[in-house]
């Protein structure tokens, strides 16, 4: 049934460019799989779906999609920093840049944490093992336990 809904969404919204970025409709997840060239699986949960994409380079991306078809959260885990421009989308990247522009910057191993009303973003790890997490607070489905976005059991 969920696959049928995905197909219908794709047909309704037509072709979409690039990635199913955070805060956008999930209809382009099929294109994500083509871009990444990896495996994909969908895990149905109560009130949301997790689309997991695993690229040959070991990038594991999970996109959390509401029952309305919106990507409200994304997690990643990879040996290299992923292309966040693709995962987060232009608007969220601008939000991130604005939050970072006022911070003192120098290279350190510390994690990067940004919290604004529009975006929550965490990036940590080291060479060969980076991990991170981003969600749009306003898009989280009602009664969704935010902690689940990084649920390793998914």
């Amino acid at each position: 049934m969920r696959n049928l809904w995905s197909i219908l969404l794709i047909l309704l919204l037509g072709t979409t460019p690039g990635w199913a970025a955070l805060g956008q409709y999930a209809s382009s997840i099929d294109l994500d799989q083509q871009v990444l060239g990896g495996e994909r699986r969908e895990l149905a949960r109560q009130g949301y779906t997790v689309h997991e994409l695993i690229s040959p380079h070991g990038l594991v991306v999970k996109e959390f999609v509401s029952s309305q078809g919106m990507v409200f959260g994304v997690t990643w885990q990879a040996p290299h920093m992923p292309n966040l421009q693709q995962l987060l989308g232009g608007d969220n990247m601008i939000e991130l840049h604005q939050a970072l522009s006022s911070r003192p910057r120098y290279h350190s191993g510390a994690p990067l944490i940004v919290r604004t009303p529009k975006l929550v973003f965490v990036s940590g790890g080291h060479m060969r093992s980076f991990h991170g997490y981003a969600y749009v607070p306003g898009l989280i489905p009602a009664n969704f336990p935010v902690a689940v976005i990084h649920d390793t059991q998914n």
């Binding site: 997690t75 006022s102 911070r103 191993g109 790890g125 060479m127 997490y133």
Partner: protein
């Protein structure tokens, strides 16, 4: 029991074979260098010096004495190099002193440039060159892989400066375009500072990455569909290129002729909660190769990600008989590790702990903790894949007060790792290293542990 004995060159740990008892060969080479902590105005920063030389043997077509013998190696000693146990490879800010150093190139003689972005969005970009690296009496003269020609140097990254981008590196020998946006997970437009300017502003001349891996990338970057890390940029147009492991930026200590199976970092204890002035410690090369580097303490084999497979964090305030926070973090999504490149212990988050974060002058939270008074009761139990475990406890003081009190080495500096219990992890930064001798065992090396058993640790290990 039949043991299969394979003929192998010394140190082929990156080739997939089954090494048997390739234990380190004892040496009497001088294997210790001093390190400073908290010097140069950088709190909790660990620094050392490195000597780099042009190699004795140049790649075909790059010998400056065309037709004649290669020039005698030209060396320079560079200080204020940050010691980083969570990255791999030597990266040096271009100080204008590099002359006639050969570069790694593809088959069309296009120089290879590398772009590496870290979790905090800082990045390094610049050409990959070949040189020998000397520290104490140790020398890395070539990559320890089969069929590598001796004395050709090891791959090192030069971090390009704005001058290099305008004029080319080494007098224009290697042109350096802007870092490709396909590498950076955040585009250059938007004004995120380039790492080189922040390094230069702080007086940091380079980064000595001595993590557990042998090269910074590994099989991925040597594959036919490499990630966006190594590039060639003909006519300023950069595209990702596949680079075999012997030409990737290499862990210098793993390429030493002797004492190359790991290292030991020994830093003094800091007793006062409000820190101390800059200190000195020592960095010793090799594990169980000399009388000064005998493996001690518990030994924690790492997972394939270079993390502890699990860390369990507990917060129990002294006035309570039960912990208010008890959570386990599993690798890799919540991978936890030790890291001299992190100035603090990063753990849990302000909301879970009920501890305030520091605020900047404009009232934006900074990711350090600023409790109004000293706190204790924090502990992390780390596990190895070999079932070893160890519990580390620490105290926390107000970070803003610490960083203004005139000291520069602190074991009570802490900060957020995430935003909630399911995104948190534990980054055991510099405070963990104080008062300990910590061993970093390289991937693929063999060591006798526990006593009487020799095992090969394919992902390396930490011991403390």
């Amino acid at each position: 029991m039949v043991l299969t004995v394979l003929m192998s060159c010394r140190g082929g740990p990156s080739t997939p074979y089954a090494p048997v008892y390739n234990l380190p060969v004892p040496s009497t080479v001088s294997n210790t260098v001093p390190v400073t902590v908290g010097a140069n105005g950088i709190p909790n920063g660990v620094f050392t010096s490195v000597t780099v030389c042009t190699p004795a043997v140049y790649p075909v077509g790059q010998d400056p004495n065309i037709g004649g013998p290669p020039p005698a190696p030209v060396c320079q000693t560079i200080n204020n190099i940050l010691v980083d146990t969570a990255s791999v490879g030597l990266r040096l800010v271009d100080n204008g002193e590099f002359s006639q150093v050969p570069y790694v190139a593809d088959r069309s003689n296009h120089p290879v440039l590398e772009c590496v972005q870290f979790a905090d969005f800082s990045y390094v970009w610049g050409p990959v060159v070949l040189g020998s690296v000397q520290m104490a009496g140790e020398t890395a003269a070539q990559v320890p892989m089969e069929s590598v020609v001796p004395n050709t140097g090891i791959p090192i990254q030069v971090i390009a400066t704005p001058y290099d981008q305008a004029n080319g590196f080494e007098g224009g020998l290697v042109s350096v375009p802007a870092a490709p946006t396909s590498c950076l997970s955040s585009p250059l437009t938007g004004g995120l500072p380039n790492d080189v300017s922040s390094l230069q502003n702080l007086g940091i001349n380079g980064i000595l990455g001595v993590g557990t891996f042998l090269q910074d990338c590994g099989a991925d970057c040597a594959s036919s569909t490499p990630p966006n890390q190594y590039f060639v940029c003909p006519a300023g147009d950069c595209s990702a290129v596949s680079v075999p492991q012997n030409l990737q930026v290499w862990n210098p200590v793993a390429a030493f002729a002797y004492d190359n199976d790991g290292l030991m970092l020994s830093l003094p204890e800091v007793f006062p909660l409000n820190g101390s002035q800059a200190l000195t410690g020592s960095l010793t090369f090799g594990i169980d190769t000399q009388s000064d580097n005998t493996l001690g303490g518990g030994m924690f084999a790492l997972d394939a990600y270079g993390n502890f497979p699990q860390v369990t964090f507990t917060y129990q305030q002294p006035t309570l008989s039960y912990p208010t926070v008890l959570v386990s973090y599993m690798s890799p999504q919540n991978g936890s590790y030790i890291d001299t490149g992190s100035p603090a212990i990063y753990f849990s988050d302000a909301q879970t702990l009920g501890i305030p974060e520091c605020l900047s002058a404009s009232s934006e939270p900074l990711s350090f903790y600023c409790p109004p008074e000293a706190l204790s009761g924090f502990s992390a139990t780390v596990f190895g894949t070999n079932q070893s475990k160890y519990t580390f406890t620490w105290n926390l003081l107000n970070a803003q007060a610490l960083l203004k009190n005139g000291n520069s080495v602190f074991n009570t500096l802490g900060g957020d790792s995430g935003v909630d219990a399911s995104t948190d992890f534990v980054d055991l930064g510099l405070p963990f290293f104080l008062g300990r001798s910590i061993f970093v065992g390289f991937a693929g090396t063999s060591i006798e542990y526990p006593q009487g058993q020799v095992n090969t640790y394919s992902n390396g290990y930490w011991a403390f």
